[in-house]
Symmetry: C2
Subunit: 135 residues, 2 copies
């Protein structure tokens, strides 16, 4: 399989497939005589796995870990669960942040008449808000 075929099969852009072997996230494919990358089904499975893990928000580093565990027939499910649970906590934390952000901003937006007049509670709120809540 050429790179565009495997990219289609894995649901990734060609550039990204190339990138993933450049950084060693997936093994470097064999090459044809003319230098074209040549992939097999195992490569597709790994790329799909990586794409899904990325969609779940796992970092490339975590994908590397997970891919190692994915390939290791002897690893315990506890190893995987540890990484996934950490990720779950990050998601929950992000959700809490977004919620407070949303509430504060929604409050300001509701207070703003949104007409032609210049006074605007949103601007005032940005100027004077007391607590920090980074995204």
């Amino acid at each position: 399989m050429n790179i565009s075929a495997v990219a289609d099969a894995a649901g990734l852009p060609v550039k990204t497939v190339r990138y993933y072997s450049d950084i060693g996230l997936v093994p470097a494919p064999t090459r044809s005589d003319s230098g074209y990358r040549s992939y097999d089904d195992a490569a597709v499975r790994k790329l799909v796995f990586v794409r899904r893990a990325r969609e779940f928000g796992f970092s490339v580093g975590e994908c590397r870990e997970l891919l190692g565990l994915y390939e290791d027939r002897h690893r315990s499910s506890a190893d995987v669960k540890r990484i996934a649970t950490r990720r779950l906590e990050e998601i929950a934390e992000k959700q809490r942040e977004l919620q407070s952000l949303h509430d504060e901003l929604a409050h300001l937006v509701e207070a703003c008449r949104g007409d032609h007049r210049p006074d605007c509670p949103i601007i005032d709120g940005l100027e004077a808000r007391r607590t920090a809540a980074p995204e």
Copy 2:
């Protein structure tokens, strides 16, 4: 005021204060004879404004817009409301994504025994998940 004083007052790192005038987000400060940046209270107010807007998740580009509106005594509150509302929609969208991500991953984590045995529903789920939900 020297840069570290203004950075403290604005709640930003020195590097970031420098950066913000490098990219023209805030006006370039005057300089002392020895070349030190010299800030006034207006600069602090703008930097605080930017910091708060960034904490709300507005991009630097949006901060630029908002800062323009902040300084424009003749702008209508509708202009501001438009930007804030867009941002609010982005936040809501992100929340929905995170929620479905959370639910899916939580489901996998719950299904995983997390013991020494190798079979793991999380890995299987990453391999086989049907729909994409990028963060």
